[in-house]
């Protein structure tokens, strides 16, 4: 998952839409709360809510009424605030923010977990097959418009892939890790990569290595694993910045 999110992060950082990594988990959280309330599948609710939010964001962005970053932040606030209101109607249930921040793989049923895994496989296959298309769209909207047929449809497809992946990953690893994987590895990689291809490959490798090291550190020192990975990622960013760009 860290590999996939770090790769997706390359597009998100290029598009300057990192707030998406904050907005989608919040919207997904609203889906989780409603699914919990009405007894529906959590994974289905996350997919439904992130798809609706992504399509709405895409539509409103094209209307040019609100800047992309503000729009994403508005959805982030709406998702969280609505989820808290809905939770207040559920008697005897207290908000467990640590579950939201760090995820809870045990709270997901086996069926949901298989469904999530299937979607991640589909997303990874799409990234493998259409990386050059997504890269075009992320690099330059004006050039991709003239050199790519149906660029608007492809753009919507990319937003949906990113939104659903981020939403589903949030339930498993939490908002903190999702946001970190989507933002930090690509920003580290671009500091020393010599080409755009290298940036994506290095970002994925950085995501993978920091996950392994972070998990080991967490086990060794008995500290929370998600937070360890985030701190490790950001330390790597500052270290790289100090070494590569003095």
């Amino acid at each position: 998952m860290s590999l996939m999110l770090s790769w997706l992060g390359g597009y998100v950082v290029l598009r300057r839409e990192v707030v998406l990594a904050h907005a989608m988990p919040n919207v997904a959280f609203l889906g989780v709360v409603l699914a919990f309330m009405f007894g529906y599948s959590i994974t289905f609710a996350i997919v439904l809510f992130t798809v609706i939010a992504a399509l709405l964001i895409d539509y409103l962005r094209r209307k040019n009424l609100i800047h992309s970053d503000s729009l994403l932040e508005i959805f982030a606030q709406f998702g969280l605030a609505s989820a808290v209101i809905v939770l207040s109607f559920v008697k005897g249930y207290q908000i467990d923010l640590t579950q939201f921040l760090f995820g809870d793989i045990l709270a997901i049923s086996h069926t949901d977990l298989y469904f999530t895994f299937a979607i991640f496989v589909l997303v990874s296959l799409s990234l493998y097959k259409w990386h050059h298309v997504f890269l075009k769209l992320s690099l330059s909207e004006s050039f991709s418009h003239v050199s790519l047929k149906n660029s608007r449809l492809w753009h919507t497809f990319l937003i949906l892939l990113v939104a659903v992946s981020i939403g589903l990953a949030m339930k498993i690893v939490g908002i903190l890790l999702v946001a970190a994987f989507t933002t930090v590895p690509a920003n580290i990689a671009k500091l020393f990569a010599k080409s755009i291809k290298q940036t994506f490959v290095f970002a994925a490798i950085i995501g993978l290595i920091t996950t392994f090291v972070g998990l080991h550190v967490s086990a060794l020192w008995d500290v929370p694993s998600g937070a360890s990975i985030v701190v490790l990622l950001i330390s790597t960013l500052f270290f790289t910045f100090a070494v590569v760009r003095p």
Partner: protein, 230 residues
Amino acid sequence: MKKLVEIKNLSVKFPPDKLVLDNLSLSINEGELISLIGLNGSGKTTLVKAIAGLIKPSKGEIKRFTDKIFYIPQKSDLDTSFPITIRELFALFGRKPYEEYLKQVGMLSFLDRQVGKLSGGELQRVFIALALSNKPDLLLMDEPISGIDVVAEKSFYEMIERIRKDYEMSIVLVSHDIHVVIAHADKVWCLAGHICCQGPPAEVASSKEFLELFMPHLQPYKHKHDHVHK
């Protein structure tokens, strides 16, 4: 002469109710070099973006008789902090052989250079090479000389004329520099939200509307200094 684009009664409104282009009717023919001039906020960028299909008309229509239209924006939306090389840029948005097109604009030795390390003028040349590789019938350039110094301007316009002839394409050039732009064009569109005047350069330059629009801004230079010449 074959028509490439026909604009009929085009109006573009931006929210909430700002009319940027008002009832424009224009046409672009094969092989023409058109200069689009106007003051800041006159709608030049909006018009070229609408021709490129990046902005939808609020009213009227734009008939495109070719889909080979390439648009080079005034300010590139490429994130130059990412280490994308010119070779990668061509692999994504251009066609082979990259070397031939880069040679046309004098940038052959830059193939493996990162885009973020180029100057404004070099970047414009790379974008033009990228456009050439797509063999467009119509090239739209928004303020291409904004990142170029005065000395390089002349050779830039010579290059534009050369590629227009070699590649038999039409070019619409947006610029503030009315003297230079008019000198190189076949046709001039003078814009102020609506079309003030249009036609051959000499005709436009002497028209009442053109003089009313630009003359108040063209103050002759007066040499002032606080030193004595030896």
